[in-house]
Structures are given as C-alpha cells and as structure tokens.
Amino acid sequence: MSVTRRRVLAFGVAGAALLGVGSGLSWIALGYRVGPDDVPVALSAKEMAVVRAIVECLFPAEGAFPSGLDLGVHQRIDEEIWSSPAHVRSDLKAAIQLLEHVPPVYGYFGRLSSLPVEARLACFLDLLEAGLDPVARAAQALKQLSHLFYYAADASWAAIGYDGPWVKTPSPSATSNAYAEAVRTRRQG
C-alpha cells in the first residue's frame, strides 16, 4: 500500500498502527523479524516488527518499570488495530510505514526498526517533534497507543505508585475475546 500524503493526513492523532491482512504467520518477512511468541493478526510481520522496535526503545526494563515487550504492548496494539474500523486500520498502517522509512530524512542512517535502540529512541523523539505534520502525527499516534497500553497493564502500576482499580477482577471486552480466538486460530494453523 502506498503512503500517499492524503492517506497519511487522514489518520487520527490518537490512532496508530497498521494492517497487513493476509501476511500469514511468517516470523521473517523481507528481513523483518517478529518475536517467537508474537502472533500478528492485523499487522503484517513487517509492521509487527516495526511496532515491536518502537515498544522496545520506549519501554526498556528499568528498576520497577517492566519492559514493554514483556507486557506485550506490541501485541495489544495489533489487537487494537484488528478491532478498529477498516479506514482507521489502513490509516494506521500508513503511519507505521511512514515512521519506518522516514528516518533518513531526519539524518538517521537506516530504517527505524534497524537502528540501534538508543538511536531509535532519539529518532522517535525527533519524529514526535517533526515540523512535517504527517510525520509528527504518525509518531504521536504510535506514542499515544503504546503509552496507553503500557500504563493500562497492571504490571506497570507499582512503578508509578498507582493503587489500581477497586474492582479486582478484569472483564475483557468482546473484541478482546474475539481477538484471542483469532490468535489461537493463527497459532494452530
């Protein structure tokens, strides 16, 4: 899918991520690697690898803060994109593609996911403040999604001193249950 300016302008500021329908469960695609436990359903393997790379640099394990990859933030972003309406899904895919390929414009040598972790974080922060609207919006979208799901995970709460909900038992949404079923099906097949 081409990343036209119109398309990139179309996605929401809080919306983010991708699609990749029909990419199958290949762990390696065009040099992109997803984790052995990752099951991209909405995302292609490439897109999952990009999201994974972003989550890895934004949320390293440090003190009481768990790693974003351990919390499965990238998989949760895949779920969100899977559950979103088709036009949001394709806009988010455009955002991921843009972020992956735009770093050379900002002086970084390589695709976002191929940069070493420190350079990747520096690059992502630059993209967040980019003067070019579509780039800033794409970065903002991924930033918001990943932070939402990192801090919605109860394993992150001790680090921030949040005492958590008073209702003790989580009740996942219908889309979460349907997504879990889709992941199970992919794993089996």
Binding site: V88, W166, V167, S171, A174, T175
Partner: protein, 510 residues
C-alpha cells in the same frame, strides 16, 4: 426488554409507534417519556449493552466497550480527539455527571438571535425540576472534594473569581474516581440506570448492537428504517432488522446524528445539515507538585470556575473568557497518552504520578466547524484559529494563574513542543508561543452538536421547533445536534430537557 444483537438471528421485522436511533441522554429521555405515555417504543443502539458488572475500571477494557471509536477517533486534521459514547446509555455512561441547567442568558440568546420557540426558561424549567429529581442532582458535600478540587477552589477564591459547586447526578458515590470507565456501583445516575431502566420497565424494546443504516421513503414520509445487527466481538454484520414505525427519531448524538442524516442524502434539501458544528474543545494543563495530589480518586469536578463562562468584549475586541474551568481527572493510562514526549523524561513524569494534577477548560465555541462525508467516511472540521484560538489562549493563561496559585511547581502544556514553565511571569510568552496548527496539541471534544440546528425553515436550519426535520412528515431529531450554539455549560441536562419537548411533539403527532 433489552435485547442483545447476539439474540437476533437472520432478518427480523418489527412494527411500533416510534423508533428511536440512539440511547444516550437524547434518545433515552425521549423513549422513557413516550413509554410513560403508553406508546410502543423501539430503541436501536449500535453499541453494546453493559451493566455495572462489566465496568471493571480497567482503562483499556472500558475504552473498547463504551467509547466511540474506542477512544481513538479524531477530527480530520487531528486538531481534536472526539470523545463520545457507543453503548446503551451513550456518553452518559462515561461522563463526569456535572449537571447544569442551561443558563437563562443562553436560552434568551437562542430565542433572540436564532428565534427559537418553545424552549425558553418557562418551558424547560418543569422538565429540569423533574430531571433533577430523577437523577438525584445535588451539590456534593466536602467528603467528595479531592485535593485537586480543594486547591482549585482555594486559588479561585483568592482571586475573587466566581467558583461554585458543580451539581452532581449521583446516588451513594463510592469515590473510586472511575466515572470515565463506567460506574461499577450504579451510583452515577447515567441514562443506563435512570431513563433506560425506566423505559425498559415501561415496556420499551431496546436493541443493542444494532446500527441504523437507511431510511426507506414513501414521498416525504419515512416508511421503514433498515438496520444492521452487529457482532460485538468481530464488529461484522450478523443480520438485519427492519422497523416500521409511525414516527422516527434520530438521537444518535452530536457526531452520529449528522453522520446518519448525511448518509440519507439529505444535504441537498437541507443545506444547513452538517454545518454550525460545535464541540467545546478542551485545553488542559498538567501541574507538578511537591506533594501528593492523587488526581485519580474521588469525583472529578466538585467545584467549577464560572467566572469566565461568557466571553467578554470591549467593543469588537475580545478581552477574556468563553469557557468553564475545572479541576481535571485522568486515570494513569490516559494521562500517560496525553503527557508530552516519550522515553526517560516521560517515564520520570509517570514515576511522579501521585504528585501530578491539572485543570481543564471547555471552550464555548465561537467559530463553527462542520461535518461532511467523504467516500462514506465522516470528516469533522474544528477550527482552532480566529476567536476560538483567542479563547483557547485565554483559557491557558487563566489555568496557569490558578495552577501556580495552587502551589504547582511546574506546568506542562502537553503540546508537541513540550512547553513547560515554572514561574507565573512566564505564562504570557509561553501561551503566545503555542502552535495552534492541527495535531500540535491534545484537545478533547466531549460536547458535540449543532449540525441539525433548529429554526424556522430549511433556509436557516434542519429541524423546526417541534424537532421535525423540515420537509418530512415523521422524521425528528432529539439530541444536541438541534442546538443553535453550545449551551456554555456541560450539555446533558439541556439535551434531556429538549428531549422532553421533542417527546411531546412526537406524541402529539401519533
């Protein structure tokens, strides 16, 4: 009876007196009133039906259940985040429960400037009386005032500003602070536990997971409404529902109603459809304190600053005001999403969560936006320049004043440039530097309306004073889409009171 989409198979047909699209403050109130009159009412709601058992206070789970667009929808250029409901009870299920009557000056303006009839103070007052009784609207006592509210109250009083208790629609609130995740205690008096419950008890048939799609016309009369039954898990169609009703009411909310009506191809006949949009864009400022604030507990806004509700002008020159200013409340995940930046600096802020507070303002839109369809997809334009921009900047300035007075050590604007200040004398320059171009700021848009406004005929409006769409025999609108402007306060009570008037008109037409 409340029927879930999964209980419907194949193609279902039903007949009734009135079909209502949408189950929020507008639709639920109208459905209840008509059921009280003994009418056979059917309500179609595209979102799910959830009860307090489903409200688990987890932000991600609840965004997926009750927030329109799962909380991720924005205007076309990303200038504002659209916040709305998608469930039985609509946005009232995640609202804050601030319950203001429409200010008399606003009703007078609607009558004088827009010629609105039948919705003045005398007409609405008895409805407000009843709504306030039914929703237990009251002023919260001091045990409901959290630290952020206490500080804002003190600061506003120090400046001599008009600050008042915000009327609350609650009964036995547990003070969890999870209003925006749906009330797990059935204490917040949302439509779900008030008007929907009563309509249900009176025999209204309420269908969740059913999206109204198409009106079938016989001349200027709607003969039937075709709807899709949606699978809640996959969001895929699982059947159809066709309703033949004598009267059809669209109450799909300030975003949903114009979208639905535009999809019916009515724009050509009704040029004002989709115009005059308002949404109360909300600028916020985060504040860092030396002491714990714990913004996430207790009720969000026990006190509100009303000093600046109306904009003040010197001749044509804008001076100040045009917004309500409130203490803010965000749970950690949403707060993390809207705090600026990422990486170590962001993490340091989150590690200091207990000491973060802040304020928020709702702008009484002075410039109109619009809603249109492009390839079947809704596009919303919200202007942040012109007078709206001036009001936004003034709202930031006043928030700086109040927050420093509350003892804040650092203020964070949350814009793309990550503007922060540590002294009151930096406020003017900082606010002037804020870039108002799209997607540079985080502004929520929780109070949409105006796109099917009320008036005399199609040359100035979409519906008449009886809420009936001009040029149709039996199609009505009952939600804030009919307001000529924003009401200058949180809109839920105004929406409900207008629905009382709409219900009387629909009933009379049966």
């Amino acid at each position: 009876m409340i029927t879930h989409g999964r209980e419907l198979t194949g193609d279902t047909r039903i007949d009734c007196d009135v079909v209502v699209v949408g189950s929020g403050c507008g639709g639920a109130t109208l459905a209840m009133r008509l059921a009280e009159e003994g009418r056979d009412v059917v309500v179609l709601e595209q979102g799910g039906h959830y009860t307090s058992r489903d409200f688990d206070q987890r932000e991600a789970n609840m965004l997926a259940k009750i927030d329109g667009g799962r909380g991720l929808d924005t205007s076309e250029d990303g200038s504002v985040s659209l916040t709305y409901g998608n469930n039985v009870g609509g946005a009232s299920v995640h609202y804050w429960a601030d319950s203001y009557r429409t200010p008399p000056d606003r009703l007078a303006r609607w009558a004088e400037e827009f010629g609105i009839e039948g919705h003045d103070l005398a007409a609405l007052s008895p409805h407000f009386d009843r709504i306030e009784r039914d929703l237990n609207v009251h002023e919260a006592d001091d045990s409901y005032v959290n630290e952020m509210n206490r500080r804002v109250l003190g600061a506003a009083r120090a400046f001599g500003w008009d600050v008042k208790k915000v009327p609350q629609a609650r009964r036995g609130c547990a003070r969890s602070g999870h209003c925006m995740q749906g009330c797990a205690y059935d204490a917040k008096q949302s439509q779900l536990v008030t008007h929907i419950a009563r309509a249900d008890a009176l025999g209204a048939r309420i269908h969740s997971d059913v999206r109204a799609e198409r009106l079938v016309w016989e001349g200027s009369r709607v003969a039937a409404l075709e709807a899709t039954v949606v699978d809640r898990g996959t969001q895929q169609p699982r059947g159809t529902l066709t309703v033949r009703a004598k009267q059809v009411v669209v109450a799909a909310g300030g975003y949903g109603t114009p979208t639905f009506l535009l999809k019916q191809g009515l724009k050509e006949r009704l040029p004002h459809l989709g115009e005059h949009f308002f949404c109360n864009p909300c600028p916020m400022i985060h504040a860092v304190y030396d002491e714990p604030i714990v913004q996430w507990r207790n009720i969000p806004a026990a006190w509100g600053v009303e000093e600046f509700r109306l904009a003040r002008f010197d001749g044509d020159r804008y001076v100040e005001g045009g917004y309500l200013l409130m203490p803010n409340q965000l749970q950690p995940a949403m707060l993390a999403a809207v705090l600026p930046g990422a990486g170590p600096a962001h993490r340091a802020l989150m590690a200091n969560l207990a000491n973060l507070g802040g304020t928020i303002a709702w702008i009484d839109d002075a410039e109109e936006g619009s809603i249109r369809l492009e390839g079947g997809v809704r596009k919303i334009h919200v202007p942040l320049d012109g007078l709206n921009g001036q009001i936004l900047r003034d709202a930031w300035i006043k928030q700086c004043r109040v927050l420093f007075e509350t003892g804040a050590k650092e203020l964070i604007f949350g814009d793309a440039a990550d503007t922060r200040i540590t002294r009151p004398d930096e406020a003017e320059a900082a606010v002037a530097s804020i870039d108002l171009r799209p997607s540079r700021n985080v502004l929520a848009a929780p109070h949409p309306g105006g796109c099917a406004r009320m008036g005399r005929d199609a040359s100035d409006s979409v519906v008449g004073f009886d809420h009936r769409v001009h040029g149709t025999d039996n199609l009505y609108v009952a939600d804030p889409s009919v307001f000529p402007t924003a009401p200058s306060v949180d809109p839920s009570l105004t929406i409900m009171a207008f629905s009382y008037v709409a219900a009387a008109a629909v009933d009379a037409a049966l």
